[in-house]
Assembly symmetry: D2
Homo-oligomer: 391 residues x 4
């Protein structure tokens, strides 16, 4: 009876509590108690979505399942697909499908108050400008526009019209990354010394896509750079980078597939990043923060992550990591959408600010220059209109 | 340049593929290609839901997000909550809320073709019988009725009317458990020797709940027993069990909180189970299968499972396991609902058959008898109308 | 500079400490400080070893590396191997090699004060008796003798001569299992409800070995039973077991290869065990303890356990678990030897007591009876001369 | 009986094999079969050891347990400790203890054929030179000497005398790192794109130690750089580095505590490293290699790594990582010693060549310069006498 003495009082005498990490239980608890503080109490928004390609499909799948949104328009230039779409998504006849040449119908429709943009990059600027001019709030896949000047103008237009212009940096809405950031900001690891970010793409993007992607620094590394600054709450003052093109097709278009960088921050923290255009084993996304009190890291998420197999002498096998950004960041996309609706419907502050987007873009430009020239580049942010304190 | 010789051909020469384990990518891929074979191509069903308590809330949250369902009725006996519900869930005025005494309105409404039952156990039988009589398909939280005879009658009624009567054994729809079962059935671990199932409840259920739960063998162990038979594809011929009541309040109502059992199967396989009414560290749910070729096991799933923390000498810390059944089995609930809709809308075969439900119930009864008497009990299935080959 | 505020005082102001779990650091620390309290301060013992088969080889490899022991005799009946042995182990000419028929030379040699027995089971009793009669301390592979009566007599002889008779239950000296036991006994998981022990053998023992092994209950399950009682600190009062012989050759000799058991303890705790004669994936050894405050478990140890591989879509791969008992329990064997030397040289109390060995043997006998008859068997320990309080 | 059909033939029909990863089983198998090809067949070497501080104690603990070595001299300048040492290590009277001023006795003793050097860095050169002049083989803790010129001279002396001069780069002998290197060199991950090495020290070294350590680049980063080149099999042509001194005491002596670097290799591979003088959570040592076929990584090793704890809502807890280099690399030290003995006794080629040691030293110098000046530095190895093909 050696351990019976440790039995202690009945568990019925305990005050129940649960771990905050179980965000699904929180959601359930709010549901079962109809906890209104967590919910919109607002009429659903009426929405149009532009573009149903890779990113558009992701957003559409969230939109049709979200009772806070009534979808009214789909704008896409493959009309031969419209019937399929209607059947596949069980869309009612109230959903109007049009081509982009007829997009004015959307802008003129006063019922529509939000616009989702998932169409090709070169179309973003035009849709943003017209939507804001028509007093609609905008959710736009990054980038807002093809250059910094146009991006700035879009933000200024949004500001003057009092409209929301939301650049979709999906990784910020991943529960694991967000948890890491919040714990770092509360000081759990102390003063950060090293931040390490790894991003290796899967599947391999087509060369056609790469040609119009703006280059790997602007297409991919912006995310890694955004993660670094967002977690650390500061902007780097020194950038060092190196890059190789090991895939012949990538070399041919004068882009890179293998990139590493160092960012030195005013506090003495250093961000280390590595990025690749292709990983055979899936979409490798990791983040690690080391400070004078300890370390927090987010390793790769995997479906059915707790399944383990041992057959013969092959060793312990677990499931592959997520294959692609839509599967890895599925939750992030859903939560990003909820955040956007919270901004629009409930007035919560937008988490991805205009100047953050612009700063990240500048760092990417500088990093590419460092890789191409072999030079270390220092940045003086006082020259830009960037807040001294990143929040 | 030691490894350059391994570079091989450009990845652009590879035929892309992805791992089947990434079911979220499969879903994305179907969405982006509007793959109709995976979708309903059917008009949404019109539904009523009875009961918005613990289980009902889970199903409601899935229903309002599912475009395959139009919710028409909520039947619940807390009318003071109706306004809250409408606001919280952004329900349109088309959703009718009534009390159970007015449930005839549902049965008489010819638009309604499916009924979801999440109300207290003692109400199930009546709602099932009336819904089936009114030609509606039924999704019912287990148990279908309070005893085996009434359960049999419900199934017979459904059969004679050609209606679906679906008993919600949620664990079968968990992607990890399902993956394990399919791999075992394909022979990946060979002839199964040992199956091990662990289930420890969290949070601690109230004593009021326990009093009407039918006892832990019928409330909880039915799931463990169902898992064992479902994975192995056979029914046990010998049952041995032992049980303790270590929590005084549980002992007082003559129930158990700590249970272990052995099931011996005709093939020589042995299932080992342990079950507890309360685990302080969360909802512990594990399954392991060992055969002459190897082992597959499903350990506990955790939110943000890939987050690791190392602070001081406390050791490596990872997130807590899911706290409760709604968070742990959230995906299972969503997929269970999709399966029910596939039965109703597309005619796919029902996976939880009537006789499986009845066999599990009988084993639970026998296991309780073994624990209470200390005797080993052999079962002769030929006396029951149970198929020789479990599928 | 968001996290700089958390920098705090210089680490040079901290008082250093290290985690007790790092037993290798403790050893290093003792070495670098020549901490005598941890060491023998005694003259090396002079030893003979009987038998250089499977177990003997393990002990020999520890003995030749242990400066606390001077090896004087090797007794083995394969003299054709003696030259090889001397060369392989770099043994000096001072080591005498003889056959068992000449073992009297060992017993009569007054220099020899300890005897290690790794020879076949049927020889144990004779060597034990003669060694003790000659005033030598004895380290004996289990079992001490072929039946309980002879075992009792050996212990009595050792007691009357004031000699050490140590039965080698190696698992108790594994750092992971020992850590688990100590934490359980300190109440870390509270009152234990469930203890789970898994043991699956690898490699497959030869049928010749099995024929003389005494059966799987006495050859293997004694370890699982010993683990259960040792961790819980009590003896079971109810035994339920089931067993199959799925390997034809095992069935033919009327033994079992697949065994499961339930032990119910006076405190209400239940031990669940499963055991197999053969696992294709290595030597599977696990232990789990669940109590009203939480759970501690020891999963399989693996060489290079932190190596992870991700190649293509095969999933995450880690190293195989240890293949065999000599590799899995290598550390346990070394520490077991140190414990024996501590008993002999420093008078520390022997951890594996005579009555524990006898109780485990009785439980194994009862478990086999339960499996063969299908009956539950209750044990009344008051009939035996077994202490009420297991320590 | 669903899975019985997969039973297949009896396992007694299989040809047994075991996984090569289980190096402890290999050792056992060699022992039990007295496999001479794996063993020395040589007379033990006669050894002297200089210095019994941090490193010396580690080597002494291996030496006294190694039957291939007869220890004859301990040379140390704390004679007040000699009695303690003799008792603590159970050393026989044959072991002579002297002070360094009497070291000539060692050099002149023709019995002594190997010398181990663990004394302070500034003494290395003198002991190396005299030992080699006296025809002894030398095992020397890094660095061989305090500057590159002296180091070169030592190697030249060893070469001209035909003696072994072994620089102890312990990490190369860690089974996990070695396994990774061998698999990379066989092409398992294809052409390497990214190599990532993390090294964070624990415990915090004293400032007195740091003052004479030669700076973090030469004291610590040499190991990270050696790992990078050793695994990749090439030398970098571009070095970029950044460093901070966040600990005031470290800043004061103009050293760094937080370092990151990028090495670009001729093949296009990039090595990324981060290094810290202090980690609160233990000795953090990781290595990762990513290539066009996949990734292999070695995460932190931990004692009792398979122990898991779940108590309350604290989350899943595992043991802390090893606290220090002697515990983390205990196996590496033992295997490094065996390699040295294999060189001396059996003539196997030395794995740590002179020019590798010199190249690593040069890269460390260049990396420090990059961190201090902010400049990228390119290296032209053709100017040095370094082989084009690193093996």
């Amino acid at each position: 009876m050696a351990t019976k003495k440790f039995a202690g009082p009945s568990p019925y005498t305990f005050k129940p509590s649960y771990p905050v990490e179980d965000y699904l239980h929180t959601e359930y608890f709010n549901n079962v108690t109809t906890n209104h503080s967590t919910k919109s109490q607002a009429k659903p928004v009426v929405a149009a979505i532009f573009g149903l390609g890779r990113a558009g499909s992701i957003h559409l799948s969230s939109i049709v399942r979200n009772p806070r949104i009534v979808l009214k328009y789909i704008v896409d230039d493959r009309p031969e697909n419209f019937d399929n779409l209607r059947k596949y998504w069980d869309l009612s006849d109230d959903v109007v499908m049009i081509m982009s040449k007829d997009a004015d119908r959307v802008y003129k429709d006063k019922d529509v108050n939000v616009v989702f943009i998932g169409s090709p990059t070169y179309t973003h600027h035009d849709i943003v400008v017209k939507s804001i001019a028509a007093n609609k709030d905008v959710f736009c896949e990054k980038p807002i526009a093809e250059n910094i000047e146009d991006t700035k103008k879009c933000y200024e237009a949004a500001k003057s019209k009092g409209r929301v212009l939301f650049a979709a940096f999906n990784r910020r809405f991943d529960p694991a990354y967000r948890g890491l950031k919040e714990r770092v900001r509360k000081g759990e690891v102390g003063h950060v010394q090293i931040l390490k970010v790894t991003a290796r793409d899967s599947p391999l993007p087509s060369i056609d896509y790469l040609k119009t992607s703006g280059g790997v620094f602007h297409d991919c590394l912006v995310h890694d750079i955004d993660m670094s600054c967002w977690v650390l709450g500061e902007l780097p003052i020194r950038v060092q980078s190196t890059a190789s093109a090991l895939i012949p097709e990538v070399k041919e278009i004068d882009d890179f597939d293998t990139i590493a960088f160092l960012l030195t921050f005013p506090s003495g923290a250093v961000a280390i990043g590595d990025n690749s255009r292709f990983s055979t084993y899936g979409y490798d996304q990791r983040l690690e923060v080391f400070g004078n009190r300890g370390m927090i890291k987010v390793e790769n998420e995997r479906p059915c992550h707790s399944t383990e197999t041992l057959v013969g002498h092959e060793g312990l096998k677990q499931t592959p990591i997520y294959y692609s950004f839509p599967s890895r960041y599925r939750l992030a996309y859903i939560r990003e959408l909820e955040h956007f609706l919270d901004i629009v419907q409930k007035g919560v502050p937008m988490e991805v600010t205009s100047w953050q987007t612009l700063a990240v873009s500048k760092i990417a430009t500088v990093a590419e220059e460092s890789a191409r020239t072999g030079r270390t580049i220092d940045i003086d942010w006082s020259k830009d209109d960037i807040p001294a304190v990143y929040s």
